[in-house]
C-alpha cells in the first residue's frame, strides 16, 4: 500500500501538555493510563461503600446507617465496582497492551478510543448524582434496589431515568471500546502474527470484546423497557397488561451472565501471560486455552436462567440451565489444568506478578467450585440469596477479576513507567491482601450455608462471630489497597531503571520496546517469525 502520510511520524514525542493532553488525546497509552486511574478511583469509591456495609454488619442491630442507606450502599457498591472499576480496568490494560503485544502503532480508531474513555466520567457522574439529590447530604436518593435492578422493585425508584441513562452511557462507551479492540486485533497485527500466534491476553480480549458487543445492547434494551414502563405507560413487566416481571430477569440475565465472563476472561489472559514468564516455560496447551475460552464464551449465552432457579420456571427450563451451567466446568477445568501444567517442573520464581497469578489460580478455583454447587437446582434452592452467593461471586470477582488486574499492573508497570517498583512494598501489599481477602469472604460461605440472607442491614445474633471476621478482613483488605497506590506513585517518580525485557523469562513484542515504552511504538511494524 501507499506510504502516504503519518501525521505524527515527523514529530515523535510531541503532544499537547497539561490538561489538554489528557482531554484530547488519541494515544492508546495516554487513554490506557486514563482508564486505569479512573478504574482505581472508582475502586476506592466502591470500596468505601463496601466498608460502610461491613461497618454496619460488624454487629447485629442498626448502628451506623438506616436500612434505606444500607440498600443504597449494596447497590452502588455493585454498580461502581462492576461498571466503574473492573470493566474500565480491563479496558485500560487492553489499551496499553494490545497495540504493544500485536505490534500495532496504536488502536485502530484512535479518536473513537478517546470518546470511549471520556464518556465514562460523565456516566459515573450521572450514576452517582442522585445520591446527592436530596434535602440533606447523601440523602439516599441513589439507587437502592440492588445492582440487578429487578422490576417491579426498581420501578418504584423515583430517580430511575438518571440510572437508565447512566447505563446507556456506560453501554455506549463499552461498545465503542469493544469495536476498537476487535478492529485493532483483526486488522493491526504485525506481519507474521497469525491468530494462533497471538498472546493469550489478546485472544481473551478478542472474545471478551465480542461478548461486549453482543450483550451491552441487550442491557440497553432492558433499561429502555424499564424507562418506558416507568414513564410512558408500557407493560413489559406488568402482568396485568400481559407482560411479566420474570421477563425482566430473562432479559437482564441474558446480558448479566455473559457480563460475568466479560469480567473474568481478560483475567484468564493475564494469568496465561504471567505464569509462563515466571515458570520459564511455554504455556501448556496454548490452542486448548483458545478453544476453552471460546467455549466458555459460547456457553455464557445459554446459561443465564441459572440466576433464576427459584423464580418459578418450568422444570424443563431448570434442567436445561442446570446441565448447561455445569458444562462450563469443563473448559474452565481445562484452563486451570493448563496453568498448573505450565508450572509443573518449571524454573519458578515468585516475583509479585507471579504471586498474584498463583493466588488467582487457587482462589478463582474456589469460586468456580462454589459456582458448581450453586448450579445444582435442588441445592440452589437452599443457597440462593444467601451469603453463600456473596462468597461465590466475590471469590470470582475479587480474587478472580481484581487479582488479575492487580497482577497485570505488577507485570507491566515497569514497562509503563520505566522503573522497577519496591519489591518489599509489593510483597506487603500481596500478603496483606491475600490473608484479608480470605478472612473477609471465606466465612461468608458459612454464614450463607447457615441461612443468612443477602442485602439486609441486620442479622440474628448467632451470625455475629463470622460477620465480625468478615468486617475485620474487609477493613484490612480495603486499607491494604492504599499500599498499591503508594507503590504506583513511587514507581512513577523513580526507582531502579527497568530494562526492555523487565522480566528474565518474558516473551512477546511488548518486551522488545524500551522501558518506559515511547509515546509512539511500532510506527514500522515488527516482523513476527
Amino acid at each position: 500500500m501507499s506510504t502516504t502520510m503519518t501525521h505524527d511520524a515527523g514529530h515523535h514525542e510531541e503532544h499537547p501538555t497539561g490538561i489538554k493532553r489528557w482531554l484530547f488525546t488519541t494515544n492508546h497509552k495516554d487513554i490506557g493510563t486514563l482508564y486505569l486511574w479512573f478504574s482505581f478511583t472508582m475502586f476506592l469509591i466502591g470500596g468505601t461503600f463496601a466498608l460502610v456495609i461491613r461497618a454496619e454488619l460488624f454487629e447485629p442491630g442498626l448502628q451506623i446507617v438506616n436500612p434505606q442507606f444500607f440498600n443504597m450502599m449494596t447497590t452502588m457498591h455493585g454498580l461502581v465496582m462492576i461498571f466503574g472499576a473492573i470493566m474500565p480496568g480491563f479496558v485500560g490494560l487492553a489499551n496499553w497492551q494490545i497495540p504493544l503485544m500485536v505490534g500495532a502503532p496504536d488502536m485502530a480508531l484512535p479518536r473513537m478510543n478517546n470518546w470511549s474513555f471520556w464518556l465514562l466520567p460523565f456516566a459515573a457522574t450521572m450514576l452517582v448524582a442522585p445520591m446527592f439529590m436530596g434535602a440533606h447530604f447523601m440523602d439516599g436518593n441513589g439507587p437502592w434496589f440492588g445492582w440487578t435492578f429487578y422490576a417491579p422493585l426498581s420501578l418504584q425508584y423515583n430517580h430511575l431515568a438518571y440510572f437508565v441513562f447512566a447505563i446507556h452511557l456506560l453501554g455506549i462507551s463499552s461498545i465503542m471500546g469493544a469495536i476498537n479492540i476487535i478492529a485493532t486485533i483483526l486488522n493491526m497485527r504485525a506481519p507474521g502474527m497469525t491468530l494462533m500466534k497471538m498472546p493469550l491476553f489478546v485472544w481473551t480480549w478478542l472474545i471478551t470484546a465480542f461478548l461486549l458487543i453482543a450483550v451491552m445492547p441487550v442491557l440497553a434494551g432492558c433499561v429502555t423497557m424499564l424507562l418506558t414502563d416507568k414513564y410512558f405507560g408500557t407493560s413489559f413487566f406488568n402482568a396485568a397488561g400481559g407482560g411479566d416481571p420474570v421477563l425482566f430477569q430473562h432479559v437482564f440475565w441474558f446480558f448479566g451472565h455473559p457480563e460475568v465472563y466479560i469480567m473474568i476472561l481478560p483475567a484468564f489472559g493475564i494469568v496465561s501471560q504471567i505464569i509462563p514468564t515466571f515458570a520459564r516455560k511455554k504455556l501448556f496447551g496454548y490452542s486448548s486455552m483458545v478453544y476453552a475460552t471460546a467455549s466458555i464464551a459460547f456457553l455464557s449465552f445459554i446459561v443465564w436462567a441459572h440466576h433464576m432457579f427459584t423464580v418459578g420456571m418450568p422444570v424443563a427450563g431448570e434442567l436445561f440451565f442446570m446441565y448447561a451451567t455445569v458444562l462450563i466446568a469443563v473448559p474452565t477445568g481445562v484452563k486451570v489444568f493448563n496453568w498448573v501444567a505450565t508450572m509443573w517442573r518449571g524454573s519458578m520464581t515468585f516475583e509479585p506478578p507471579m504471586l498474584w497469578a498463583i493466588s488467582f489460580v487457587f482462589l478463582f478455583t474456589i469460586g468456580g467450585l462454589s459456582g458448581i454447587m450453586l448450579a445444582v437446582v435442588p441445592a440452589d434452592v437452599q443457597y440462593q440469596d444467601t451469603y453463600f452467593v456473596v462468597a461465590h461471586f466475590h471469590y470470582v470477582l475479587v480474587t478472580g477479576a481484581l487479582f488479575g488486574i492487580i497482577g497485570a499492573v505488577y507485570y507491566w508497570l515497569p514497562k509503563w513507567t520505566g522503573n522497577m517498583y519496591s519489591d518489599k512494598l509489593a510483597k506487603w501489599h500481596f500478603w496483606l491482601s491475600l490473608v484479608s481477602v480470605n478472612l473477609t469472604f471465606f466465612p461468608m460461605h458459612f454464614t450463607g450455608l447457615a441461612g443468612m440472607p443477602r442485602r439486609y442491614a441486620d442479622y440474628p445474633l448467632e451470625f455475629t462471630r463470622f460477620n465480625q471476621w468478615s468486617s475485620v478482613g474487609a477493613f484490612i483488605f480495603g486499607f491494604s489497597q492504599l499500599l498499591l497506590l503508594i507503590l504506583v506513585i513511587k514507581c512513577i517518580r523513580g526507582g531502579q531503571k527497568a530494562t526492555s525485557e523487565v522480566w528474565e523469562g518474558a516473551e512477546g513484542l511488548e518486551w522488545t520496546v524500551p522501558s518506559p515504552a515511547p509515546y509512539h511504538t511500532f510506527a514500522i511494524a515488527p516482523e513476527v517469525k
Binding site: 500500500m1 501507499s2 506510504t3 502516504t4 503519518t6 501525521h7 503532544h15 499537547p16 493532553r21 484530547f24 488519541t26 505490534g103 500495532a104 502503532p105 496504536d106 485502530a108 480508531l109 484512535p110 479518536r111 470518546w115 471520556w118 464518556l119 460523565f122 450521572m126 430511575l160 431515568a161 441513562f165 446507556h168 455506549i172 469493544a178 469495536i179 476487535i182 483483526l186 486488522n187 493491526m188 504485525a190 506481519p191 458487543i213 453482543a214 445492547p217 441487550v218 440497553a220 434494551g221 429502555t224 423497557m225 408500557t234 407493560s235 402482568a239 396485568a240 397488561g241 400481559g242 407482560g243 411479566d244 421477563l247 432479559v251 441474558f254 418450568p314 511500532f522 510506527a523 511494524a525
Partner: protein
C-alpha cells in the same frame, strides 16, 4: 493483516470526542431531569444541538482527511470492521425487544391463562382471563383496542422498503461504473422511499391512536408494537439522514468508483434496517 504500518493514519489530538461526551451527557441528563424533576427541556435540547455540532465537526474532519488521501486500505478496513460490528450491536438491541415479544406470546400469555403449572395462579389471580394475542392482559390495560392489520399499509411499507433496497444497490452499481447520474438518481429515490416509509408509518400511528385506540400504553401488544416499530422507524430516519448526506456528497463529487466507504456504510445500514422490518412485518403484523 497489515502490510503497511508505516502508512496507517494516526489522527492528531481532537476535542470532538469530549464535545460529544458533553452533548450526550446534557441530552440524556436533561431528558432525565425533564422526566424525573419535570424540569426544563432546554438542557436536553442544548445537548442534542451540541451532538449535532459534534457530528458536523467530527465527520467533517474525517471527510477532509479522506479527501486528502490520508486513509490507506488498512484504515479503510478498520472503518469497515467498525461499521459492521456497530450494526451487529444494533441487531442485538432489536433482539432484546423481539425477545420480549416472543417471551410474551409464547410464555407469558399462556401462563396468565393458566397453562403449564399455572393453574392455581390463574384461578386466584385472573380466573376470567383467556390467553389470546394480541392482548393487553387480564387487566385490559389501555381499554378495548383494535389490531393493526398486516395487509394494508404495512404491506405497502414492506414493498417500499424492499424497493429502496433495490434502488440503493442500483445507485451503487452506478457509482462503480462511474455513472454519476445513476448514482444520484438512485440515492435520491432511496431517500425519497425512506421518507415515504416514515410518513406512512406516522399516518399508521395516527390511525392507531385516533381510530383503533391502540396506544403505547395498550398493554403488552401496544408496548411491543410501538417500541419495535418505533425504534425501527427511528433507525429508518437515521439511515435516511445518512443516505441524504451521502447524496449531498455525491452531488459534490466526493466518491470515486474505488473509494466510497461512506456510501457502503450507509447502504449496509439501510439493508440492516430493511431486514429488521421483514422481522417486524412477519412477527408483529402478520402472525399477530
Amino acid at each position: 493483516m497489515s502490510e503497511s504500518h508505516g502508512g496507517y493514519y494516526l489522527p492528531q489530538p481532537s476535542y470532538w470526542p469530549l464535545v460529544g461526551s458533553v452533548g450526550l451527557f446534557l441530552a440524556l441528563g436533561g431528558f432525565a431531569h425533564f422526566l424525573v424533576d419535570h424540569g426544563s427541556p432546554l438542557w436536553m435540547i442544548s445537548g442534542f444541538v451540541i451532538l449535532a455540532i459534534m457530528m458536523f465537526g467530527w465527520f467533517g474532519t474525517v471527510i477532509h482527511e479522506s479527501g486528502s488521501g490520508a486513509y490507506n486500505a488498512q484504515v479503510d478496513r478498520s472503518f469497515r470492521m467498525g461499521m459492521a460490528w456497530f450494526i451487529f450491536s444494533e441487531v442485538m438491541f432489536f433482539a432484546a425487544f423481539f425477545g420480549a415479544l416472543f417471551y410474551m406470546r409464547i410464555f407469558a400469555e399462556p401462563w396468565l391463562g393458566g397453562a403449564s403449572n399455572n393453574f392455581f395462579t390463574h384461578q386466584w389471580l385472573y380466573p376470567d382471563y383467556v390467553a389470546h394475542w394480541p392482548s393487553n392482559g387480564p387487566g385490559t390495560v389501555g381499554g378495548k383496542f383494535g389490531q393493526m392489520p398486516a395487509w394494508g399499509l404495512p404491506a405497502i411499507n414492506t414493498l417500499i422498503l424492499l424497493s429502496s433496497g433495490v434502488t440503493v444497490t442500483w445507485a451503487h452499481w452506478g457509482l462503480k461504473k462511474n455513472n454519476r447520474g445513476q448514482l444520484i438518481l438512485g440515492l435520491f429515490m432511496t431517500v425519497a422511499l425512506g421518507a415515504l416509509f416514515v410518513g406512512l408509518q406516522a399516518f399508521e400511528y395516527h390511525h392507531a391512536y385516533t381510530e383503533l385506540n391502540l396506544k403505547l400504553s395498550t398493554g403488552a401488544y401496544g408496548s411491543t408494537f410501538f417500541m419495535l416499530t418505533g425504534f425501527h422507524g427511528l433507525h429508518v430516519t437515521i439511515g435516511a439522514i445518512m443516505l441524504l448526506v451521502v447524496l449531498l456528497r455525491s452531488v459534490k463529487g466526493h466518491f470515486s468508483p474505488h473509494h466510497h466507504f461512506a456510501f457502503e456504510a450507509a447502504a449496509w445500514y439501510w439493508h440492516f434496517v430493511d431486514v429488521v422490518w421483514l422481522g417486524l412485518f412477519i412477527f408483529v403484523y402478520w402472525l399477530a
